[in-house]
């Protein structure tokens, strides 16, 4: 009996907590349904008599939103692919081999996270300008893939550490090469970690604004965050459009997170200890 009451208590607590957590997200949806001028209102209601889907209609029909979305998908797709390939191979090298410089590489991966990213912008720009990669996706993709990599490599390495060595040893005895042991035996069992790596690489590029703003100048190349920001002029923001855009931008990430939340729990091993 007491157990039931306890469960009920915990359940209702979680319901309340979840509602409170979701409120800000619902708030954005509420704003996207209002007219621009109702942005400042004392009503807490999400749907009022003035609400409409007008902003969404304008967003898709009258702005370049679809182009931005296409661009963002393209960039994020390539970044995710590169991220997964590079992180899975280098994470494997770091987990399985004891080579010279291994420790140095691992610590420097962690160290890359310690430098304030804002100060990297200027050198990024100089580098890209020298390589003539300004205003091109290639430059953007290189930066995105590499900035997401350190975390992804750590994460992959942590996951490989939990897989017993015996697995590929068996495959090697069966006559597999090193590389095919990796691709045929290790990669398939690492699916959860690969999914997480993909998710992180995707996130790093999907909603990134600052780097995109210095690299891309041609509005035809804009990614979603840049496009969204263009609704937000400093002296007159089209709040309805902005919020509607924000909702639509968040949807793919939400879908990914929700459908992958199963893997998140089993695959996120931010460098767990071997053994």
């Amino acid at each position: 009996m007491s157990k039931k009451i306890e469960t009920l208590f915990i359940f209702s607590f979680l319901v309340l907590f979840t509602l409170a957590t979701l409120y800000p997200a619902l708030n954005i949806i509420g704003i996207s349904l209002r007219t621009d001028d109702a942005f400042q209102s004392r009503s807490l209601a999400l749907w009022t008599s003035e609400s409409s889907f007008r902003s969404y209609v304008t967003l898709f029909l009258k702005t370049d939103f679809l182009t931005w979305m296409k661009n963002s998908f393209l960039v994020s797709f390539v970044v995710t692919l590169t991220g997964v390939v590079l992180a899975s191979t280098s994470g494997y090298a770091l987990s399985r081999f004891n080579f010279m410089g291994r420790r140095a590489v691992l610590s420097s991966l962690l160290m890359t996270q310690m430098f304030p990213a804002t100060m990297l912008l200027l050198p990024f720009f100089i580098l890209l300008a020298k390589l003539k990669l300004i205003n091109s996706y290639l430059g953007l993709i290189i930066i995105y893939s590499s900035t997401a990599l350190p975390f992804c490599i750590w994460q992959m390495k942590g996951y490989y550490d939990t897989i017993p060595d015996a697995l590929e040893e068996a495959a090697r005895i069966d006559g597999c090469s090193r590389f095919s042991a990796f691709t045929k035996v290790i990669l398939p069992v690492s699916a959860p970690a690969l999914v997480i790596t993909a998710l992180f690489s995707f996130m790093a590029s999907w909603s990134e604004y600052v780097v995109a703003a210095i690299v891309l100048q041609d509005p035809g190349l804009y990614t979603l965050p840049l496009g969204l920001k263009s609704f937000q002029a400093s002296l007159s923001t089209q709040w309805g459009l902005y919020a509607a855009g924000a909702v639509v931008v968040s949807i793919p990430v939400m879908i990914l997170f929700i459908s992958l939340s199963r893997f998140l729990v089993s695959g996120l091993t931010v460098g767990s200890v071997k053994g």
Partner: protein, 701 residues
């Protein structure tokens, strides 16, 4: 740039392209602040747009940095004679910009449904304001304000200094803030809010705009740029800012121009095209188009003489208002003055300083900041020494490498597979992170700043010394520690707590897990801006909820230092706990059920189980997450910058990283900012090493 203005610009560009089929005009928009920082970066990289359109106050910094070219050699002098003199922007005896309109000045706009004749003096303004500030439905909350405007911003404040007699800047670009007029103006704004209560307590630009557009404010102080936005929504009239009753003087709004400058890297044929385009974009024909579309006050004398302009009553009235204004200074020092004034003015409004002290302090700060902004540290002996040292270091690396090359080669051959697997990622990270890191190290030892933009030199450890001897650094460091500790402890405890709850046998367990991840999934900048809206004192949901549920009086979240910092922390806690929750959930799943069963047999309580089994078992997964979480939180600029709007009030909500950003892009102190970043990097490295040793986790690496 407003949406309508962009559209109008695109229209005239399309027309130009039609008559010049071989030329394609690419338009790219950035907001004023970003335009500045992006153009700076692209100029260092040697590229960027050919033609830059922006407000005249960017001319000073751009000209000093040498990233725009002087127009005197490019155009015949008769070209400049076609414009009003305040549209031809000169600085240090040269012409740098030509404006396609004049204005950008503040005025009083009033809702004709509520007011028939605008107030002519401040006494009248207060009187009218009082009768128009009303609680319409009797619930004790004010529904309609007499006056609204973005009064916390210096640009929206300085006209009043003029109205009280003095001006905030001298002709030579030095600040003039320690004046009776500045004190009186401080006190005047504060009295409008606290004594006469005709303006809202917290009112940023968006709030003011929305209130006026929906008829919930009778008057607004705003610029000519907002006309297009109001035109279809409010029947409004314009007037000069009302005369200050005690002095009999009119406030003096800043009048500026927005116009075109040419990139210093534009040369040859491209340059002649650019000149031709600029001539077109400032021509009477284009300006008359803007008059029709946007009601912009033309700068071209020919356009001004056109019957369409002569008969435009709004523009005629506007011309009278402009006469009361003063020209916008273009010197780079203006930024330092704005910055000093903003901080002190916000302290007055927050009630933490009296007007006199704030006036004295703002003058001191402005002088101080101008000094640090303009100082050029000459490379002395130390500079040469450091240069030599750097060279030696690189040489030593090379020699070590040469001596040990056999060992390296052998190691490579032994582990060829591992190295090849690692190589592509290593190259990527090398170019994108290690190169910028090295670049910053060099910059941090250099005198790179506004005045040495194109020819900086290595000077040594000056910036490191000035960071470490500045008391400001330690208070920022303290705040950053509070920020990090509070955030990470909430992230971890909330995350573990929720994970333990969710991990029980519960109905709808998966749903909770999925929904609680949402803050993590939402793009950070969107979440941060939404929270900022929710913290608004009168219209934000947080105060509304506190008021309706707990009957609390509204908290001034964004204009008081402690509250604003708490607002940032609350936002970041919300953003960060799901990550820890997911990590903890992963850890919990690896604990075998038998352990709990065994301890239950031994009669252990829930609490004991948690301390003796759960915590030790999830510790190995949590510690790396805590280290990463600490580093990320320490360096998280987005939340602080967006929620506190760049450190408001009075730059009291900065943490180290947001201050780095400010120093680099706001005050052009690249060298100093780079040194500060290096120090942040060292602090975090030390933390990580110590933390890993303490938790015996160096085995992770």
């Amino acid at each position: 740039m407003l949406y309508e203005n962009r559209k109008a610009l695109r229209e005239v560009c399309d027309k130009y392209e039609e008559s010049h089929p071989d030329i394609k005009i690419e338009l790219t928009y950035r907001e004023t602040e970003e335009l500045r920082s992006n153009f700076q970066s692209s100029a260092i990289g040697g590229s960027g747009p050919d033609l830059i359109y922006g407000p005249s106050d960017q001319v000073g910094p751009f000209a000093v940095m040498g990233i725009i070219q002087s127009l005197d050699e490019l155009f015949p002098s008769s070209f400049f004679d076609q414009f009003l003199s305040n549209a031809v922007v000169r600085f240090q005896e040269k012409t740098w910009m030509v404006g396609d309109g004049v204005g950008n000045h503040l005025m009083l706009m009033f809702n004709k449904e509520l007011i028939s004749t605008p107030p002519e003096s401040t006494d009248e303004l207060i009187q009218m304001g009082k009768s128009l500030t009303k609680d319409l439905n009797g619930d004790g909350i004010i529904d309609q304000y007499g006056l609204v405007w973005n009064f916390t911003e210096p640009f929206f404040y300085v006209p009043w200094i003029g109205g009280f007699g003095d001006w905030f800047i001298n002709d030579d670009g030095s600040p003039n803030l320690n004046t009776k007029s500045n004190e009186n103006a401080f006190a005047f704004i504060k009295s409008l809010r606290d004594e006469h209560r005709i303006i809202p307590k917290e009112c940023d630009y968006e709030t003011a705009n929305a209130l006026f557009k929906t008829g919930r404010a009778a008057m607004i102080i705003n610029g000519d740029w907002s006309w297009g936005d109001y035109r279809d929504k409010v029947d409004f009239g314009i007037a000069a800012l009302p005369m200050v009753s005690s002095t009999g003087d009119f406030p003096t709004p800043l009048v500026s121009t927005k116009g075109y400058s040419i990139n210093v890297h534009t040369t040859g044929e491209q340059l002649s095209h650019t000149i031709d385009l600029m001539t077109y974009l400032t021509s009477p024909e284009v300006q008359l188009h803007y008059v029709r579309r946007l009601n912009v006050q033309p700068s071209s004398l020919a356009a001004l003489a056109h019957p369409n302009v002569q008969s435009n009553s709004l523009l005629n009235q506007n011309a009278d208002i402009i006469k009361k204004g003063r020209p916008m200074p273009v010197v780079p020092e203006l930024r330092a003055i704005w910055d000093a004034l903003r901080g002190e003015y916000q302290s007055v409004l927050a009630g933490t300083k009296d007007p006199h002290a704030a006036a004295v302090e703002s003058q001191r700060k402005a002088i101080d900041q101008i000094k640090t902004m303009n100082v050029v540290i000459e490379p002395g002996v130390q500079g040469k020494f450091i240069k030599g040292l750097l060279f030696l270091f690189i040489a030593a690396l090379g020699i070590v490498f040469w001596i040990k090359k056999k060992i390296y080669l052998r190691s490579f051959q032994e582990n060829k597979f591992a190295y090849l697997m690692l190589l592509p990622a290593f190259l990527g990270i090398m170019s994108v992170i290690i190169f910028p890191f090295g670049y910053n190290l060099i910059i941090s030892l250099s005198n790179f700043s506004l005045r040495t933009f194109k020819h900086w030199e290595i000077i040594g450890f000056h910036h490191f010394a000035s960071v470490l001897t500045d008391g400001g650094f330690y208070s920022l460091f303290g705040k950053t520690i509070i920020w990090t500790v509070v955030n990470v402890s909430f992230h971890v405890s909330l995350g573990v707590f929720l994970a333990v709850l969710i991990n029980r046998t519960l109905p709808a367990k998966r749903t909770f897990r999925t929904l609680l991840i949402i803050p993590w999934a939402l793009p950070q900048y969107i979440a941060a801006l939404t929270w900022r809206g929710m913290f608004n004192q009168e219209y934000g949901s947080i105060n509304l909820i506190l008021n309706q549920l707990l009957n609390m009086s509204p908290i001034q979240w964004l204009s008081q230092p402690v509250e604003a910092f708490s607002a940032c922390i609350i936002t970041n806690i919300w953003l960060g706990f799901p990550f820890m929750m997911v990590v903890a959930l992963g850890g919990l799943q690896s604990i075998p059920k038998e352990m709990y069963e065994a301890s239950q047999v031994d009669g252990a309580s829930r609490w004991q189980q948690f301390w003796n089994i759960t915590l030790p078992m999830i510790k190995p997964v949590m510690i790396p997450a805590v280290i990463l979480g600490t580093i990320w939180t320490f360096n998280n600029i987005n939340v602080v910058w967006l929620v506190s709007n760049g450190g408001e009030p009075s730059d009291l909500t900065h943490i180290l990283v947001s201050y780095v950003y400010k120093a680099a892009f706001n005050l052009y102190r690249y060298g100093y900012a780079a040194a500060l970043s290096m120090i942040i990097f060292l602090i975090l490295s030390m933390f990580t090493v110590v933390f890993m040793r303490r938790s015996k986790l160096d085995t992770v690496v």
